[in-house]
Every structure is written in C-alpha cells, then in structure tokens.
C-alpha cells in the first residue's frame, strides 16, 4: 500500500533559507556582544570616575613633598597634573582620548597606560586564564566520573579534595605551598632566574594554587555534575547508546560546552580577584601590584585603565560564553 508522494510538512515550508552555519551564528553573537560591551564600558568607567573624584587624597604626593610647598606651589602642581579642571571636563577629555586608544600616562612612572597595562596585564591574563582552565578541567573530570559512576573511588577522592581545597583560604594556601615546596623540599624555584626551565617551574605553582584554591572548585564541580546527570537522562543520549555511538560525541556539547562556558563567564571575575592575592604571594609581576600602587598613589589614569581592562576581561569571558553556546546550540541563534 504505497504512501502518497512525500508529505509536505507545514513547519518545513515556513523556514526558507537553510540553517545558518555555526560560523555565521557565532559572528552574529559576537557583534551583539561587542555592542553591549561598548555601552557597558561607558557605564563602568563613569561609575569609577565619580568614585575616584569623591575619594580623598591627591596624586601630587607622588611628585613632591607636599608639606614643603606653599599653597600656590601646590596649586601649580595640581594644574600641571590637570587635576584642577572640572569633573565633567576631565571625564570627557579622558573618554575622547580613550576612544582614540590613548589612555594617557601613568602619573607615577610616566609610561603610557596602555604599555603599563599590557606589560603587567598579559601576565595576569596568563595566570588567570590557565588557572581558570585548570579549575574547569578538574571540575569537568570529577563531574564526569561522579555522574557516570564509572570509578567511584577516584571520583570520591577527587570530590572530597575539591571540597577541602576550595574551603581553604587562597591567601594562606599560597604561603603553605611555598613553605612546603620551596622552603622544605626546594622543588620549585621561588623566582624565575631567566632560563626556561626555572621559568616554567616558577609559573606552575601559582597556577596550581589559584586554579585549585580559588574557592569555586566545589561549587563548579557540583554544578557540572547536576547538569551532566540531567543531560545523561535525556532521550537522545539513550538513542545514542542504543545506536552504539560513542557517548562523549553526543554528550560533549550539551554536557560540557554549555555549562563550562557559563561557569567561565560567571567565575572569571572571581578568579581575577584571587589572582591579585596570588600575585603578591608569588611575586608574580601582574596587574595586581599595579592596582595596589595606583590606588595608594591615586594614579587616576592607571586606575581608569585598570577598570577598563578588568571590565574588558570580564566581558571577554561573556563573549567566549556567547560564542561557544551559540556555536554548540543551533536553537540559540534563531
């Protein structure tokens, strides 16, 4: 009993153009994300500018011994630093220059802010990035073992370790690790003396401490496990297993890409904060020290630059999340 010619399905007719390729979907998501970031940056920098203006203290102290100056001399210094102009004027001037990529010069070292940020920024990014990857990798591995009940002993051990290490304060963990690995065992060099070998040894410890010790490990593991257990009960996973297809190929997009990217976006600011503490303990020349000094000196250009940089890093986290999720999940793009 032949069935009449192919059934024209109402839903298929409505959508004319073919589904957008993942590449184009990601591009559209990134454009949306950049627009939103631009609007956000204005808001963030304005908020910080107002806060800085209200904060007591004056950068002139970096230049001269203020207590030896007469009132006029002090006024001259302030004029020289451009601090005597009205608030809105200073903000507009700053934004004007910022748009052209000129963030001004650090009041302290005279170097252009962009260079200061870049020289210290990439180290903080390297530390924060690798620590974030380590946290996500550990979380994903533990969650997978726990969700699939594959190796209960290993899964249990990793889980307990995650709970204990993320309850440990990272500022104390740093000291403990240095004490054990460097002072007692002398395994890790305390400072990179230039050659590659010690450089990597020197790099590994802070990443391990920040990656495991930033206090989010247990929460991330639990979130990933709950999500993974949900996905494992989906019908299409049962179909995949019925087809004898490799489980991970069907699981990785919804089970890992989606949750990991949203965790990355949510937890990045938190790990960035942890980096500031770890940098100090491990003498890691990152943005942390720059912020410290700038806040104490009221080095306004640097502080505004740092605000911009950290807002950009946070937004980059969100951009990565949007891109990953749109690429993975076709339904999101429409």
């Amino acid at each position: 009993m032949a069935v009449p010619g192919g059934i024209k399905d109402r839903r298929a007719v409505r959508r004319e153009r073919p589904a957008a390729s993942p590449g184009r979907r990601v591009a559209r998501a990134l454009v949306r994300e950049t627009a939103r970031t631009a609007a956000l940056l204005v808001g963030v920098t304005l908020a910080m500018f107002l806060l800085l203006a209200r904060a007591p203290g004056n950068p002139a102290a970096m230049y001269v011994n203020v207590t030896d100056l007469t009132a006029e001399e002090l006024a001259a210094v302030n004029h020289e630093l451009g601090l005597d102009r009205s608030l809105p004027v200073r903000y507009v001037v700053w934004v004007g220059r910022m748009v052209r990529g000129d963030l001004g010069h650090s009041l302290r070292s005279g170097r252009p802010v962009t260079r200061e940020l870049w020289q210290t920024g990439w180290r903080t990014l390297l530390l924060t990035g690798s620590a974030m990857l380590l946290t996500l990798a550990f979380g994903a591995l533990t969650a997978y073992l726990q969700a699939t009940r594959r190796h209960p002993t290993i899964a249990g051990a990793l889980g307990t370790f995650a709970y204990v290490i993320s309850a440990l304060p990272v500022f104390w963990l740093g000291y403990l690790v240095i004490y054990i690995f460097t002072t007692r065992l002398g395994v890790f060099p305390l400072m990179s003396s230039g050659e590659a070998a010690t450089h990597w040894g020197f790099f590994l410890l802070p990443v391990l401490v920040l990656g495991l010790g930033n206090g989010t490990l247990s929460e991330i593991t639990r979130h990933l496990r709950a999500h993974l257990e949900g996905v494992l009960q989906e019908d299409y996973i049962r179909t995949a297993r019925a087809k004898g297809a490799p489980l991970l190929r069907h699981l990785y997009k919804d089970g890992f890409v989606m949750p990991l990217s949203s965790v990355l976006a949510n937890k990045l600011p938190y790990v960035l904060g942890g980096a500031i503490v770890v940098e100090q303990v491990f003498n890691w020349a990152g943005m942390g020290r720059l912020v410290w000094q700038a806040a104490a000196d009221r080095d306004y250009p640097i502080l505004m630059g740092v605000t911009l940089a950290s807002a950009l890093i946070v937004r980059a986290g969100h951009a990565v999340k949007e891109a990953a999720q749109v690429a993975a999940n076709p339904q999101l793009a429409e």
Partner: protein
C-alpha cells in the same frame, strides 16, 4: 522449557528462533521504601527470523523494561539480575547467550524476601563490554516522542551518517552521504539533500520519527525494536508511520519487535503477540488467535483489552465502553498468586482456590500459551 513448535514455516526456514529470552528478571531497588520494584519478573519470549512480535500491555507492565534489558540500556540499580538471552546472529548460526557471565556479578536469592548481591563495578564493565558491540549492529531501536530522541545539537545528516559509518566504515564520505539520502528518501522525506543540514527542532514530530526509522534501518540490524513508535503522534501521521513500517517489513524482512499499548497497532503489524501484565507474560501466540475476541481459550486480561476497543456498532448505539476496573498493580508490592486476580471478571467457577497460586504459562494449543487456571489443569486435580 519446551521449544516452541515451528510455526509459519514458510516464512522462517530457521531451525530455531533468532532470539529467545528465558526467565529474564530486571529489578530496581527503591532505597526510600527498602523494597524491590520487580519491573520484569521472569519473562520468556521467542522471536523467529523475519517475524514481527508485538508486546502489548498497559503502561507499567514491564514491556519497555524488557526491551531495554535486551538492549543493555538499563543502568538503574541493580538492573538485570537473572535470566538468559539466546541470540542467533544468522539463521543457521549457533545461538549465543547475551547474558553469559551475569551470574559472576549478580546473584539473586528468590526466597521471600528476595536479596541481590551485586559487584557493581564488575557488572558495569561486563555489561558495557558485552552489549555495546551489538548495539547499532545486530539490534536497533526506535523510541517514543521522536523529537526528544534526536540529538538537538547535531544535524539529521550527521546522526544518520553515524549509524551508516558504524555499519560500513569502509564507505567514502560521498558514498555514505548518498546512502543517507537514500534512506531519507526511502522513509518518504521530501528533498533529502537539504534535510541533511536541518536540526531536530526544524522538523515536525512525524518527520522526526521518519528520521529515527531511517537511522535505525540504516544500521541494517538483524532485530529492530520499536518502543511505542506511534504514541504521541496525531492520528493521520500515526497511520503514515504504520504504513511505512509495514512497507519496510515487507521489503527488508527485518525481524521486528513492536512495543505498544494500542491493539490497533498490534493488529496492523504483528505476526505473533505477547500480552504482558505486572512484569510477566500472561498470554502469547499467533496474532490471529490472540486478537480474535470471541475465540477461546484466552486470558481474561486479553479479553478485557480487546473488549475495551469500541467498535463502529458501539459508537452507533452509544453503548457505554467496557472497562477493566481496578488499576495496574504496584510492582514493588506484588503478592503471590495470579496477579490479575483483583481485576479478573471471569474467575474459573469452582476452581477459584487455584488462583491463590500463580498459574504457569501453559500450552493451550497451536503455539498459544495462557497463564490462567481456566484453561490449565492444576497438578492437584485428579
């Protein structure tokens, strides 16, 4: 157990069934209640080559769990605890027990109360190794609500190619793509080329089920299992799917097991029928005999199911529909004796006392077996 007589010889030249499930038990442990949920409690079934067996029963009768156990998809604890599954890959090949070695990892002590000792890790390794080779090669499965059963993150083409690649890895990319399009065409999907790049959410329920069927058949399984394939689809689409399945049956002669609660589906597709109730098979036999309402002997439950289907006449005279009163039993509180007793309307006159004891699935003629004392002689009878 006696082997079933060779029936429908013309179609099955085989010496024995392609698949024989013997005394399969699959239990689930409920920690909160501290009891076992006996989803499948001693099921035995045979399927001949090329034949279509329909397993019929209300939801919660264990029919789906039986098939999931066959496919090795039951991960709940403790899962399959007893039984054997003889599988004959080719008509003349020697049967292989799919559950061979189960005893080493799971020991069942039946005595009230039942106990199971299970080496979870070992069972998992054995179970995963054993079944994963055969899934997608010898056995393929179609599921209910197809849109959820398709992976939303992969295109239709990728999912079908995966099945084809697993069956014939030697195919070139283009070759595989053509075969995929071929299968889409065979299941009557329009413009297969473009459909390959679509996702599940771009298609309707009916279209998704067609894709599922194409994907299952593309693996050229020896046994196709369809778990409620048409449930949830609206009537017209349902009949199209059934037509398609009938056509595939005729054309490919694949042995098929259909699980459904809809007698109409069973009548359309099945050569033989097994009726399941409370985790047991209560009647099995050729479709003609089981489905004929007035033909006796028949298990009261089957009669109840058949009479519940409204005929044109009933609708005309607006007769009240006949219903099997009572409800499906709680599988974690099954007593001894015939499970259907509370709901049974035709208690064997004068022999009710036998119903305290569970009747065996006795032979009542022409390859038909019924689990009811009305048709079986009790050992104690003279």
């Amino acid at each position: 157990m006696s082997t079933a007589p060779a029936t429908a010889a013309s179609r099955t030249a085989a010496t024995g069934p392609i698949l024989r499930i013997q005394d399969l038990r699959t239990y689930f442990y409920l920690p909160a209640r501290g009891r076992f949920l006996k989803a499948v409690d001693g099921v035995s079934l045979d399927v001949q080559h090329g034949e279509t067996l329909a397993i019929v029963g209300e939801s919660g009768s264990g029919k789906s769990v039986t098939m999931l156990s066959l496919m090795g998809l039951v991960t709940a604890v403790p899962g399959i605890v007893d039984g054997r599954m003889w599988y004959r890959p080719a008509p003349d090949a020697k049967p292989v027990d799919l559950l061979e070695g189960l005893g080493r990892f799971a020991k069942l002590k039946l005595g009230p109360p039942p106990e199971v000792h299970k080496d979870t890790l070992g069972w998992h390794k054995w179970h995963e190794h054993g079944m994963s080779e055969r899934r997608g090669r010898d056995f393929a499965m179609i599921f209910q609500n197809p849109r959820n059963a398709l992976n939303p993150y992969m295109t239709i083409g990728q999912q079908i190619l995966e099945a084809i690649r697993r069956r014939s890895p030697e195919l070139s990319a283009a070759g595989a793509a053509d075969e995929a399009k071929g299968w889409l065409g065979k299941v009557r999907i329009d413009d297969p080329g473009r459909r390959m790049t679509d996702y599940a959410h771009n298609l309707s329920g009916g279209m998704c089920q067609r894709v599922m069927i194409a994907m299952a058949l593309a693996a050229r399984p020896t046994v196709l299992i369809a778990d409620e394939p048409t449930t949830g689809l609206d009537a017209t689409i349902q009949s199209h799917i059934l037509d398609l399945m009938e056509e595939m049956k005729g054309e490919l002669k694949t042995t098929t097991i259909v699980i459904t609660h809809d007698m109409g589906v069973a009548r359309r597709l099945a050569d033989r029928i097994a009726v399941m109730y409370a985790g047991r098979v209560v009647e099995k036999g050729p479709a003609e005999t089981v489905l004929e309402l007035r033909r006796e002997p028949k298990h009261p439950y089957t009669t109840g199911l058949l009479s519940a289907i409204p005929t044109a006449e009933d609708i005309e005279q607006r007769r009240r529909l006949t219903v099997i009163d009572g409800d499906v039993p709680d599988l974690s509180r099954l007593g001894t004796g015939c499970q259907f007793l509370e709901r049974c309307a035709v208690r064997p006159a004068g022999r009710e006392r036998f119903c305290e004891e569970e009747p065996p699935l006795g032979e009542v003629g022409q390859g038909q077996r019924v689990r009811c004392w009305r048709h079986l002689r009790h050992a104690t009878e003279a």
